[in-house]
């Protein structure tokens, strides 16, 4: 399964400012938002959303999706025992994340 998500940086920044600390901890966990860079977090969010769509598990929570990097710097994700490859593309305004479930 493949999941795709697009996030606009200005919109993400607006939501981040509005939702404040609770927004960040809900989205990334208490420790997940140490890097406060908007583009970084927007990318992280897009990746999580893409994984959510690729996983096809309705009960999956955003917090359940864990984004990691392997030795070569490629983004990976795990969620409820499933593993995913992630690809991110950025423009000035948007970040697009694609997630693909890979065999465990």
């Amino acid at each position: 399964m493949i999941g795709i998500d697009v996030v606009s940086f200005p919109e993400f920044q607006r939501q981040m400012e509005l939702g404040g600390a609770r927004f960040l901890s809900r989205a990334f966990g208490e420790s997940g938002a140490q890097n406060k860079d908007v583009e970084h977090l927007a990318g992280l969010w897009a990746a999580k959303e893409a994984v959510y769509k690729a996983a096809g598990i309705p009960t999956l929570q955003i917090a359940d999706v864990v984004i990691t990097h392997d030795a070569s710097g490629r983004s990976r994700a795990t969620a409820k025992g499933q593993r995913f490859d992630i690809s991110l593309s950025r423009t000035a305004q948007y970040v697009v994340a694609t997630a693909m479930r890979i065999a465990p």
Binding site: Q15, F23, R26, K36, T59
Partner: protein, 822 residues
Amino acid sequence: MSERTFADYVKELDEFAEDLALTSRSFLKIGRLTHRELQSRSYQTAHFLKAQGVERGDRIMVVAPNSPEWVQVLLGTLIIGAVLVPVDAASSAETTLRFVRETTPKIVFVGRNLHLEADPLFTTRFLDEIEELVVDCPRTDPAIVLQKEWTALIVFTSGTTADPKGVVLSHENVLANIAGILARIEVGEDWRLLSVLPLSHMYELSGSLAVLSRGASIFYMPRVTPQAIVQCMVDYQINVILAIPQLLVLMLERIQQVAEEQGRTRLLERALRTADHLPFALRRVLFHSVHSQLGGSLRIVVTGGAPIPIDVATTWERMGVRMVQGYGLTETSPILTCNGLNQRRLDSPGWALDNVQLRIGDGGEIQVKGPSVFSGYLHNDAATRDAFIEDGWFRTGDVGQLEGGWLHIRGRLKFVIVRSSGLKVFPEDVEIVADAEPSLRGICIVGARNEKGESVLAVVVADGSDQIVTDAVARINSQLEPFQHIDAWRRWPESDFPRTRLLKVDRRQVQDWVNSAQALAPAKSDVAEAGEDPLVHIIRLSIDDPGAVINDADRLADLGLDSLRRLTALSLLEEQLGISIPDDAVSAESTVGELRRVVNEGRAVEEALRPPRWPYWRWVRFLGDGLREVVVRAIIRVWVKVHVEGGEELASLTSPAIFIFNHSDDFDGPVVYHALPRRIRRRLAVATADDVLRDHKMLALLIRVCFAGFSFARSEPYLPSLEYVGEMIDQGWNVLISPEGKIGTTGKLQPFKSGIGLLAVSLGVPVIPVKTLGLTGTVPLHAKWPKKRSRVTVRIGEPSYFGPQMNYEDVTDALHRAFEDL
């Protein structure tokens, strides 16, 4: 005074090197700085400023909300001999530019919300970028030699009496005040202080620097709202706040509102009456539920900025929070007098700090002298000359009295109302009486000039009709001396008075309005904006469409609430309504109505934890009494032959009582119940272990129906259970409870839990011991059915009364002894 400067202050941060100094959790910066990090950041900032060409005496302005960066720039500026000009972040661009013109700063550090026009005279930087700006600067001490007389700060007065004036404060002024504060108040390394006031005010600035120098930790909030304050107090286990009286009034209102929602108003009031006689630690136990709303750690509130209404201070003290009041002015860096942690009065802002000389001069004016008193106003020699009299005494402009060293402040000299008779009325004296009048939301007393002198005019903010206000004024006058009486009143044309930075009513503006023709116009009644549904408001905010039409049947996705915005909406709902909503409570498919239900459930959770009321319905009691008297009694008689001794005094009991019994057997509850006279039995509720009621459904039903049982916690938190006993007593129920907490297997009396002592002293009801002898083993622990027949003696003791002034632990011991002797 020593030769110390801020160079020494920053150097000494090393003492608490690894302890947490500053924490902030604004949306972009989640920051924690230890004392050593604060030190090295300050050094980096100093190097950065030097590199920018900032020299000794140059001004650096900060116009931004409080943050670790704010403190970093403050210290970095001071240790190169430059001057920091703090400006309230809420100031208008116009005011800020005025301060810029007066102080000609080289760099202005601003928050994200302030947009200053580009100006060739100064550089503007975002304060939250300072970390990146200084990243390549050395972390070493720039080691610049400073003189204590050098200017450290130019702080603009908040001015209830005049236009803001720039107060010039030296290193010595500020450090002397910090030393004075620390000599009065023993700040501990364990202090966790929530910052709620702007650092642009000396009260917050000196207070913060004082506690930091003792290794304490300060927490900053992204935005200061009552909800956010409460949340931060919980999250950070805040134990100290520097507050202004208004905040304490607001928090108290919130506590009373919660009590009302839970139907505990009477309990709260009674607890407050009782608390005076309890030691501090115990007050915190008694008000456990209040404290847990506030994170459970709040121990000390330091207040200043305005006098605190004595009833508000008293209420906080009764709840076990030390109220430490102080008094000071920007010109004095700022603290002049302060209470001590253990030596304090609620009707006084304390006595002069050790390094402050204080006297009462002409007209009762408070005059002071000492190393923390400023040298003069910026570019305003006339005002400086006015402010000082011979020998360097500074005129505070406040009128006060000294009583054995304790200061009492009457009010501002400038606002004293002089009647034609020559009698003087202090507006503050009238306002303190008027503040207790519930039909007025606000009152400001000013003098209205007439041909002969001045009359006392009340400017009010009130929702009620003119008649209601007139009645209120009459009630206020009845509590005042005749010469203080309010002669006339007017409505303020807006929904609140203009206020200063510390939320004091800006008396000068009210006075100006009264003096102007505006006040002569007929009073306008202002219509408050209709309360917007908070849920709708938050959804509109999240989708950035203030005019959106939102119905309960709408699906969230259709309104434009995608997963991102939903997250924002939930975060805002949590923050603003003080509830907790799980992530999976709603999805894109959910409707607004479903979200509303989740929100309401969030509010109802606490309600659900309370014992059910149905066992006390009249028909349930009718049924239960019948079952008990006929069926249960018959069963008891088969197994136990009961002989009752004593209990003659019970006939004269006029109030509900607490009956305590020794728990030696599963059967003793019913046996004791039946040994009591019928009159008592008809309104006797049994405190039953919460785990028993939870785990044995049939037994729970039987206990609830036949014995009017309610659940009582066997482990922390006990307070809700103790409070519930109070409610039962309040409603006229006798309560049967085992102070041992669990069944003893040896037949020997176990120690009593101290909750029984607390109940006895705080409720003031009689406690009657009821002892069973010979029952042990009839229905042993965990047995389902009686194992043997027994002959049992039930001895009913005499009622004991305990006053609220007694120590609850002593009372517990006394009850235990009385029980053993029975």
